[in-house]
Amino acid sequence: MRLRACVILFGFMSFASAGVARDTQESVEADASTRQVAITSSFTGTEILLFGTVENSVQPSPEAGTYDIVAVVEGVDAPAVVRKKSRVVGLWINTSSMRFMPVPSYYAIVSTRPVDEIADPKILDANGIGFDHIRMLPAHSAWNASPDPAELASFRKALVHLKEQERLYVKSEFGVSFIGRSLFRATVALPPNVPVGPLTASVYLFKEGKLLGQYKSRVMLQREGMERFIHEFALTKSFFYGLLTVIMAAGAGLAAAFAFPRAA
């Protein structure tokens, strides 16, 4: 079934490319399979399918590797603090810390091969492609005036590492596959602890280290139903939410005490 669809696409693509001039610039068009992800009480993470095509593809076969595709899915930016422990009179305690300007709360990157093989660090830095190239700036404040570059690098590395451990920063270096001369697809896993908020999906097209085009789309990630109601209640009517929690707790305690007469 899928094979036949590919064959049909193959035919279509070769027909399309035959119609235009050979030197026409390639570009990329892409989208996500879902535009809206609802977070309900049964949410345990989900998967987003990203797919797209390379316009004017000159790739002879899906395996040729003429083009490199990188897809990045980012969650809303949020400030981050990284703390570091060191030994003080025999005790390990947090002694230093670094605050960062808002960084992506979630960052998933899939590509046809490791990003550092695809393009120059300069291009990667400019677009925030790859863990080592995400924009992470120290937040300047009175006590954090100008951090030492080596220290900044170590804190930055730690931030990425910690986010990776929480499964909020994920990468798949060979996660994008061409299923035709121009059609490609990739899947990105959203973990259950993904921060709620809009996601941005960016797809970049590279050829021989040059960025030929990019395409951005948005995926809404929002609470729905009971989750939404509780969250809004907790944030807007905090005092009554607290009171309700206490009443619920005390009520449950009383109920149990009376349900077990003479204490079991």
Binding site: S42, Y241, V246, A249, A250, G253
Partner: protein, 307 residues
Amino acid sequence: MSLYLPIAEMSVSVPVFLLLGAAVGFLSGLFGVGGGFLMTPLLTFLGIPPAVAVATCNAHVVASSVSGAVVHYRRNNVDVKMALVMLLAGFAGTAIGVEVVRLLRKAGLFELTVSLTYVTFLGVVGTLTLIEGINSWRRVQTAGVSSRRKSGQHSWVDRLPFKMRFQRSKLYISVVPPMVIGMFIGFMSAIMGIGGGFIYIPAMIYILRMPTSVVVGTSLFQIVFVAAFATLLHAWQNQTVDIVLAAILLAGGVVGAQFGTAAGEKLRGDHMQILLGVLVLVVAARMGYDLVAMPNELFSLGSLKGS
């Protein structure tokens, strides 16, 4: 079976947290402690963000201590007057504690102070409880009967002014020691974020010399108010209380507390002290180890809510 938590923003397995609630609830009913000092580290270990864990475990403490306190109250094992005196002083202590926390944070000493007081406190209280438990166990072994409180004995406590009669505890003592203890516990709970049950119990037994039968019920009764106040404050000020997580934990907790209270009835006072002492020491040792041992991860992500 899993459920998504609206405030913690993660999906958790319901049976695991029900069981956790029940286990801590059992210990709470058994020893008359809130169980916050056990619940908070366990929740964090299971991946709940620390700020949410600290705030939400208070709701569980409210439920299991209400559940246990009602049983003790029915058996006339709660000295309400003593509890109220200690509570009033406790709120004053908490207010002072909150201010001290602010100053310590400003000086950047908060983290160290909390870790050290926690370990020191749990260590000292655990050791004292254990030693006293072993001593009274020895007395029981040699004399055959448990030696009761020496009622004729006078100590420095009896020489203080402002005496008050506490009928339930059969005490006629100055209100100064209960107030100082209450204030101190309120102060500590502001700093360490715990109800302080494991401090109440030995303080009531050894300093106030209250009958052991009344101590557990009175301690639970006080913890209800301290924890309810903490839950409300956390929900109101920090928005870190997860009502869904609280519901799962306390559903297990109230049932566990009932069985714990029943089990406590059958447990001899000296055995209970030894067990509580061991439990507190284990937690202290675990925390002390974390402070001294080289951590495998030097860096940590600071939470954006709360500290």
